[in-house]
């Protein structure tokens, strides 16, 4: 068993036992469901919107090469410096080099899961820079020295009391556990950091190939300040974030807001098209855009699962996932958690090391039903299982299925197996749940159904 799977099981055991944690997450996400449904109802047809979005992303991803060329040409035409990064390490090095060139030490950063994917903060801190997260949820998680819990709601698992204690401990200031008061504390700390920052770092939600714009969606205005105040702006974006046309945002902005947070529109949606142009009074003097591959092109080459690149990182699949709701975001041990994380992590970080995430699913399909861009998520989990078993079959599991197949295909053996099951019931009952019980993984928490003496087929035969 790889260390990743044993860590996953240990954390899953801890988290499923933590009833308070499960209740906090369930309550928060049931609240999300109510507002999401209200806003879904505002669409003329949510299902048609999903279909249109899926087709747009299909077009974007299946013609990614031409869209990227157009995007880059447009960005460069207005003086933006575009960098291509094949790997996460390359992206970190490109950004570190920009900081060295600028002799920059202080970085203010708005929310970016892609930067979490490449462990950017760690790389920049190793260079001697200080990085401050300006999204409130990310700021809280940075103070806790923990990765985000959820791709959209980074600190959703914390209560206001826990945040108050954290602020008191780390910032020495927390007048009450009132969210307004706590936000003001964070705001006072952050405002200073904006002014001191040499470089502003952002992620982006969409890249518009037609116009060469990056679209950033946020609720706090921190991303706008991050982009506006420092002289240098750096934006990191995965190559799959491309949309063909500017008009596509008319669908994708409300869709992202609805699916992601149950909002009609996110509070601030800003389109960035270049650094400060001659005659303009604000904006960064320099804008660097780093386009990240990091094995996305390998996923692109997989015709079966290519649609996983449609993902707009809304988090809708996490929110509805009964596994996520019970084990929480940190249990996954990945940047992208929940169903989409279980689908793409094996592609980004290796199938055999991360196949357990595809196995840790009842394949209920709630994720696929919720996905606004119609990624076939739960079927991709099945395909990951198939690919993992083909590449590295588990000896005993395969043997068990071979034997099961022999028994199932031979009526006499099947009859015998049922009889043996019936006869050994008292024995199994005696050792129920103990180490001697071959069914202990079931019987530790659940009873087995009593097996009747007469099976259906016995009845059928007797009847004839």
């Amino acid at each position: 068993m790889s260390s990743f799977v044993s860590q996953f099981k240990t954390r899953a055991t801890e988290k499923t036992r933590d009833l308070r944690h499960r209740q906090v997450i369930r309550t928060a996400l049931r609240g999300y469901e109510v507002v999401r449904d209200k806003n879904k109802a505002a669409f003329q047809s949510w299902e048609s919107a999903r279909q249109a979005a899926a087709e747009t992303k299909w077009q974007a991803i299946n013609h990614l090469d031409t869209h990227l060329e157009s995007l880059v040409a447009k960005l460069e035409s207005r003086g933006t410096k575009v960098h291509w990064a094949g790997t996460g390490e390359q992206a970190c090095e490109i950004i570190a080099q920009i900081l060295r060139d600028k002799k920059a030490r202080a970085i203010i950063k708005s929310k970016s899961m892609t930067s979490e994917e490449i462990h950017l903060n760690h790389a920049l801190e190793k260079e001697g820079s200080t990085v401050v997260e300006s999204d409130l949820g990310e700021f809280i998680m940075q103070l806790r020295h923990e990765p985000p819990y959820h791709i959209v709601f980074p600190s959703m698992h914390l209560t206001r009391g826990e945040i108050k204690d954290l602020f008191q401990r780390e910032l020495g200031d927390a007048p009450s556990d009132n969210p307004d008061d706590l936000t003001m504390v964070a705001r006072r700390v952050m405002r200073q950091k904006y002014i001191q920052a040499d470089v502003g770092f952002t992620g982006a939600n969409f890249a518009i190939a037609e116009t060469g714009m990056l679209s950033i969606t946020e609720n706090e205005g921190n991303s706008r300040l991050t982009a506006a105040l420092p002289k240098t702006m750096v934006t990191l974006i995965g190559i799959e974030k491309v949309l063909p046309r500017f008009a596509d945002l008319a669908l994708f902005l409300p869709m992202l807001a609805t699916a992601g947070a149950g909002q009609p529109m996110t509070c601030y949606n800003t389109m960035y098209s270049g650094p400060r142009q001659p005659g303009e009074c604000d904006g960064p003097e320099e804008w660097h855009v780093v386009l990240l591959d990091n094995r996305r092109t390998e996923l692109l080459a997989d015709a079966e699962q290519r649609d996983a690149l449609h993902c707009i990182r809304c988090g809708a699949c996490l929110n509805v996932c009964p596994i996520f709701r019970n084990i929480g975001g940190h249990t996954y041990g990945t940047t992208y958690s929940g169903p989409v994380g279980s689908v793409i992590t094996p592609h980004l970080r290796g199938l055999q090391d991360w196949k357990h995430l595809s196995n840790a699913s009842s394949l209920c399909g709630a994720c696929t039903e919720a996905c606004p861009v119609k990624i076939d998520l739960h079927h991709h989990l099945l395909q990951n299982r198939r690919n993992a078993a083909a590449g590295q079959p588990a000896f005993f599991e395969r043997l068990a299925y071979k034997i099961f197949g022999l028994v199932a295909n031979e009526p006499k053996l099947w009859w015998l197996a049922k009889k043996l099951g019936w006869l050994t019931q008292p024995l199994q009952h005696a050792v129920k749940g103990s180490v001697l019980d071959p069914a202990k993984s079931w019987t530790k928490t659940r009873d087995l159904p009593p097996q009747p003496r007469e099976s259906f087929k016995d009845w059928w035969r007797n009847r004839k």
Binding site: C364, G365, D458
Partner: protein, 237 residues
């Protein structure tokens, strides 16, 4: 019509009353029921675990046995989805691809067969109890089974259906229940709590496998709530 009834392995061994009810209902409606004794399992356990060669070894003889069936009826959304949706995928690019597609087109989940194919909703049943209905995920999301069982239950005398506030998986998921018992159990606890909130005496479902999981938890918790397959409810006179 001659109906070929596919009895899933765990229904055969553990829940024969569900299968017997299906036979009796279909016969009362005037159909001839055949039940190929050589078929034990659809192959879903190895299929869902990723062992598709082993799944094909079980599924190929099933296809052969069903080749001449006029209509295949399966009393489980999960096994129904396997034959109807996943067999064409499993046998894609193999010599049995066409047979798998042909059988898929003639395969029905039990409640869907009654309501959509036969156009029957009133089976003359009487079940004087308060119940809640659990939608098995494969039936619900792979096959679109949601209205059919409710149309059937609406005609059952003295039955009161109270829906659960949360539509969620029971946590069974086949081998998932054994590979990740802590997650599976937690999901089942959520399901049982939702069912308890309704005040129902029975949890009814078209999937015995979900009910096996739910009943396993209820019985361990000492809950008085019982589980019963839809076919058994519809067969109560």
């Amino acid at each position: 019509m001659t109906v070929t009834l596919f009895i899933p392995c765990f229904v055969d061994a553990l829940f024969p009353r569900a299968g017997i009810s299906m036979v009796q209902i279909l016969e009362r409606l005037g159909h001839t029921v055949v039940c190929p004794e050589e078929i034990a399992c659809c192959g879903q356990p190895p299929f869902n675990s990723g062992y598709w060669d082993e799944a094909r070894a079980i599924a190929a003889p099933v296809l052969e046995k069903l080749a001449d069936a006029e209509a295949v009826v399966i009393g489980s959304g999960s096994c129904g989805a396997m034959v109807k949706n996943f067999y064409p995928e499993l046998f894609k690019n193999t010599p049995r691809a066409e047979l798998a597609r042909a059988i898929s087109a003639r395969t029905w989940e039990f409640s869907d067969f009654l309501v959509s194919k036969l156009g029957v909703t009133d089976l003359g049943a009487k079940f004087p109890h308060k119940i809640t209905y659990h939608d098995g995920c494969h039936g619900l999301r792979e096959l679109g089974i949601q209205k059919q069982p409710r149309a059937l239950l609406a005609q059952v005398r003295d039955l009161q259906l109270v829906e659960m506030a949360e539509v969620s998986c029971c946590g069974f998921g086949g081998t998932f229940a054994a590979k990740f018992p802590m997650i599976s159990t937690a999901m089942g606890e959520v399901k049982c709590a939702s069912a308890a909130e309704t005040g129902a005496e029975y949890i009814v479902s078209g999937d015995s496998s979900c009910l096996m999981h739910i009943q396993g938890l209820l019985s361990r918790q000492g809950s008085p709530v019982k589980t019963i397959h839809l076919a058994e409810v519809l067969n109560q006179q």
